[in-house]
Symmetry: C2
Subunit: 317 residues, 2 copies
């Protein structure tokens, strides 16, 4: 169930002309502050505003005509929901998304805007994994998980593949780690192309389940982290993602909420781009000195889905 | 004193490798809302965050070694100040910028960050044109005006030149109009390459001095406009810019502050880019239906210099 560079290349072919080949931005000021040449792979400009479209579409595109005819299910209140909704629409299928009842209306509307049906559950009494499985079984839907799936991991890895194809040699690559799918795909691509590259994961302080798991050699859980980086609130690494990441990740840097805020402000003020908290953790680790990286350094900016009220609220303190 | 496409091409050669060749972004949602194929030329990603660097650098690069040795002067509290400051630094010269005493500290710091000396004056008692001329004469500096200069106009026109080189045929091009330098250069380039293109200027309601001047056939003044589009607060068109624009501009669309706010929010939410009020007027005219444009439509997003507090404040209502 592990993945190889061939799987990532295969995903890249499927995504060609469907996903955006996102731009790689530079910032002279950032380079000077960090003391490195920094290459920012901007998945905030990806369709649905985050890398999640890559993995979801790659997985959905493998389904049979019959499976697509019955439909696709996912549980998510975040970017994976929109990713599956749009992938289903692109493939002429239909998505049913399981979301907590208290999901912000804008997130629900975004999935519905791509043609998905939204089914809600009570986050305090319901188990989304069991509910998702029951929903899929009852309606004959195929469930696409947010990271525990080889095609999802391989799809996410196309972000790193594109970055390296465009800029060439890199000494290090910083990747936000939540469930670990983006890292698993990116590390698979990057280590195959550049065996000496340092793969550096970035987690929020308090949400360092992957850092602890790497140190322990087995998956460990942490209490559900309190962090503004809502894309990285998984309390434990995925089983499939961890099997890849324990082999390929060199180290994990930790960033505080204030580090993330400073990075979001830097991106806004100096680069004129909008980055969501999880998406800013790579810049945060560099700007706050939570990792020492010189030479040529890649950073994956994982997404930019944050609305003006939340952005203003986070950065007003 | 007029300019031709040859002047714009010459400016493009001088800017090659110094200015950014800024990206052209698309938005499927915007296309659907507008009913056109819209191509956004993103000068918010230009050096100093606005198109102004193009004209300032083109003009400064023509100065003799002796002139560069004595230094360059400009009066501006906005993007032209940073543009001249950076241009002077790039050319091994030094800039002296005349700014009102009450200029926000961040704008002053930005110019100083590029190595410029800032000299202040009282905006209520001082005449910046006379003060600028006196300062230049006293210190032997060469004054670079923000738009009334053929090399400045030609430099600004490289934005449209790049856009058309990249995307080809366009039916219309929307350009924010303040002093008129960006429009003069852009219209010169666009009409030479695509004679049938409709050149559409965009001004804020109340700041429609160019619209009124085009209707009258001579330059007219309006009271200093109250608008959030601070890059377009000129009460009258420039003499040189109007001589070009009266020949080449087909029409002017007017946008309200609320139209501009909606466009800034759209750019943030759906495109993940930061656009200052003046920079958003082209998108605003399309989204609010202030102009009817179909087919292939170019828009110049002129800049993205707005800090988080002002952005939050403008969009919180």
């Amino acid at each position: 169930m592990t993945i190889t560079i061939a799987d990532v290349r295969d995903a890249a072919e499927r995504l060609d002309g469907v996903a955006h080949r996102t731009p790689v931005l530079r910032s002279r000021t950032l380079d000077a502050l960090v003391g490195a040449e920094v290459f920012l792979k901007c998945e905030n400009f990806q369709r649905i505003g985050a890398f999640k479209f890559r993995g979801a579409y790659n997985a959905c595109s493998r389904l049979s005509a019959e499976q697509l005819g019955r439909g696709i299910a996912a549980y998510s209140s975040g970017n994976h929901a929109q990713a599956v909704a749009l992938s289903a629409r692109e493939l002429g299928s239909k998505a049913v998304i399981l979301m907590p009842e208290d999901t912000p209306p804008s997130k629900r509307a975004a999935a519905e805007g791509y043609g998905a049906e939204v089914v809600t559950y009570d986050r305090y009494s319901g188990d989304r994994v069991a509910l998702g499985a029951a929903l899929a079984a009852e309606r004959g839907l195929t469930l696409i998980p947010p990271y525990e799936h080889p095609h999802v991991m391989a799809g996410q890895g196309t972000a790193a593949l594109e970055l390296i194809e465009e800029v060439g040699e890199l000494d290090a690559l910083l990747v936000p780690v939540g469930g670990g799918g983006l890292m698993a795909g990116s590390a698979t691509a990057a280590k195959a192309l550049l065996p000496r590259i340092r793969m550096i994961g970035v987690e929020p302080v308090g949400g360092d389940d992957t850092r602890r798991s790497l140190a322990a050699g087995v998956r460990v859980s942490v209490p559900v982290p309190k962090t503004i980086a809502d894309g990285q609130a998984a309390p434990t690494p995925g089983e499939l993602t961890f099997a890849v990441n324990r082999r390929l990740v060199d180290e994990i840097a930790l960033v505080s909420d204030d580090d993330i805020r400073d990075a979001m402000r830097y991106a806004f003020d100096r680069m004129r781009i909008v980055v969501e908290p999880s998406g800013a953790t790579g810049i945060a680790a560099l700007l706050a000195g939570r990792v020492t990286a010189g030479g040529r350094v890649g950073v994956i900016i994982s997404g930019g889905n944050i609305d003006v009220p939340r952005f203003s609220n986070l950065l007003s303190r």
